[in-house]
């Protein structure tokens, strides 16, 4: 939800403090402490918010910390509120039998983020899908083309300002 990032920076730090002992939080704080901007535990799921420019480094850190399996990645369009896009990465640890969500918030005018295909090649199709359906660009992606829609399609269908029945 957008209100979680509209908190004051002090509030964010407090939220992070609560989960200091969690291995994922520990690993991120051990690397670049600035990268982690928020943490939330809701309905049995841990959500970590990461600065957009740090996502690749954060994923590499988490991979080294035991979250070895990239399960899912998608976007949510919070139009018309700002920042507009939320990217949600779901990472799974086979050893700890636990899943975490890593979130990144992107502004509409700067909707580009570093690709994590160098960390998990599995993200290839997922990033192409998000590019196709949301128009978010992934820097360093080896083959950033449309995947589900035709190559000559105009617009990004999963954006909230795209009508359900399409443009007529």
């Amino acid at each position: 939800m957008s209100d979680s990032i509209s908190q004051t920076s002090a509030g964010k730090l407090q939220a992070v403090e609560q989960f200091r002992e969690h291995p994922a939080v520990k690993a991120l704080l051990g690397g670049n402490a600035q990268a982690l901007t928020g943490a939330k535990f809701d309905r049995g799921e841990l959500t970590l918010t990461v600065a957009p420019e740090e996502i690749r480094a954060a994923c590499a850190t988490l991979q080294a910390a035991g979250y070895n399996y990239f399960e899912d990645m998608t976007a949510v369009d919070w139009f018309p509120s700002a920042p507009r896009f939320q990217l949600s990465y779901h990472l799974l640890s086979h050893a700890r039998k636990e899943r975490i969500r890593v979130c990144v918030w992107l502004a509409e005018d700067d909707s580009s983020v570093e690709s994590i295909t160098s960390v998990w090649p599995a993200a290839d199709f997922y990033e192409r899908e998000v590019f196709d359906l949301f128009g978010i660009r992934f820097e360093g992606h080896p083959n950033l083309r449309r995947i589900l829609m035709p190559d000559d399609w105009e617009g990004h269908p999963l954006r909230k300002d795209y009508p359900v029945e399409g443009y007529r």
Binding site: D42, N68, T74, H90, P121, F125, I147, L148, P157
Partner: protein
């Protein structure tokens, strides 16, 4: 004059023109062995595969966008149509996700019936895989045998839900209704004879030298590659990763069932075949346990604002009639938040990511389906191998194009 100088004139194969000798072969989207509308652009050096590029999207119907325009309960029938071979798993995963958002407690009987039907659904999925996979390899007979048993399973689905394939039997808050009286007896009769049927398939294939030669050592995928490429389910376990969501992160009371998770370290098509064959036997065990220990009680949660009331109550109680009218016309509000629910379906790890903004329609529904990332692994499995192996590999990873394109 040297040979090199002559090369451009005579068009001799030089070092830079090796790429020119490669043939680009378009396989699909209507090729019978691609299990749907999958298109593969294969680059070949003679008969050896240089690269395989999957082109997908032919079945894209924008289900994720459609979900945003529907009430929560109206999404259930949409989910059936994504993976049309393992339909109950779709329902289960979506319902579990929304129930997690709502914080609903599901009665034990409903959970157990869900497990029973999901395992039947897994058998259905594996039977189709086995029949079509064997048919691709050239063993036509098995297809007729597996579809005989599949028909039995579809009849059970019809008995319980009135629908053979698109059942939509699991609802948010439980099941749509109590199964018919003779349902459990019919499942018991099916389960009693089914292990012999698995023996029958095994007799036809496991010792068959042609089948063995077409699968053994073909399509190798290491455990590290499988994890890096996001492969899940039977192909992951056939590569030596011992992970099954049913056992390791149980949902819908799977923790109460005893079963083995088959693992092989060979990582080839043969290992995937054996893993799935054993999985079918384990599913039979789970169904047997579900039948033996089936608890009594209601099959719907006690949540009148979410779950549709019984017909009888609607005719006699004003309150129930109002709730029914409200749910059907306005839906029900779901508290704001986001959840991700993962389950183990026939093909691998399925996941639903549901985001709510507090209204009666989901703000965002994203489906993680196992075939989508698994398709990326096809190049790793086929590179440097013969084109004839490609068909065996496509069969062995068991993809459904409906869930790839959504």
């Amino acid at each position: 004059m040297s040979d090199r100088a002559l090369a451009p004139v005579l068009d001799l194969p030089g070092s830079e023109s090796t790429a020119a000798r490669h043939m680009i072969l378009n396989m699909g989207p209507q090729h019978p062995a691609t299990h749907g509308v999958l298109r593969l652009v294969v680059e070949l050096d003679g008969e050896v595969i240089v690269s395989v590029k999957p082109q997908i999207g032919y079945l894209h119907t924008g289900i994720e966008k459609t979900c945003e325009a529907k009430f929560y309960q109206q999404v259930v029938p949409l989910t059936d149509r994504i993976n049309y071979l393992d339909t109950f798993s779709n329902n289960l995963c979506y319902c579990l996700a929304v129930e997690k958002l709502l914080g609903l407690e599901i009665p034990e009987r409903a959970q157990w019936i869900r497990v029973l039907l999901t395992e039947l659904s897994r058998l259905n999925s594996h039977l189709i895989w086995l029949g079509t996979h064997a048919m691709d390899i050239g063993a036509l007979t098995v297809f007729l045998y597996t579809f005989r048993e599949r028909e039995e399973i579809l009849r059970l689905f019809e008995a319980v839900a009135g629908q053979r394939m698109m059942a939509s039997y699991f609802r948010i808050g439980g099941l749509s209704m109590e199964p018919p009286l003779d349902f459990f007896d019919r499942v018991q009769a099916f389960i009693r004879t089914f292990p012999e049927k698995i023996d029958e398939y095994s007799n036809l294939l496991t010792g068959n030298p042609i089948f063995i030669n077409r699968l053994k050592g073909v399509g190798y995928l290491s455990a590290a590659d499988a994890i890096a490429l996001g492969v899940s389910g039977p192909p992951l376990r056939a590569s030596g990763v011992d992970f099954d969501l049913r056992r390791d992160m149980p949902y819908s009371s799977y923790e109460k069932f005893q079963f083995q998770v088959p693992v092989s370290t060979d990582g080839d098509c043969w290992a995937r075949y054996l893993v799935r064959l054993i999985e079918m036997r384990e599913s039979v065990k789970i169904i047997q346990q579900a039948l033996d220990g089936m608890p009594d009680g209601p099959v719907k949660a006690d949540a009148p604002k979410v779950v549709l009331p019984d017909r009888e109550k609607m005719k006699t109680q004003m309150e129930a009639l109002i709730h029914h009218f409200k749910i059907v016309t306005e839906g029900f509000n779901v508290p704001a938040g986001e959840v991700y629910q993962g389950i183990e379906c026939g093909h691998g790890q399925m996941g639903y990511y549901v985001v709510s903004d507090g209204s009666a329609k989901p703000y965002r529904v994203h489906m993680r389906y196992p075939s989508f990332p698994t398709l990326q692994a096809i190049e790793t499995m086929c590179k440097g191998r013969l084109i004839a192996d490609l068909v065996a590999v496509i069969g062995s990873i068991d993809i459904v194009l409906g869930e790839i394109d959504r």
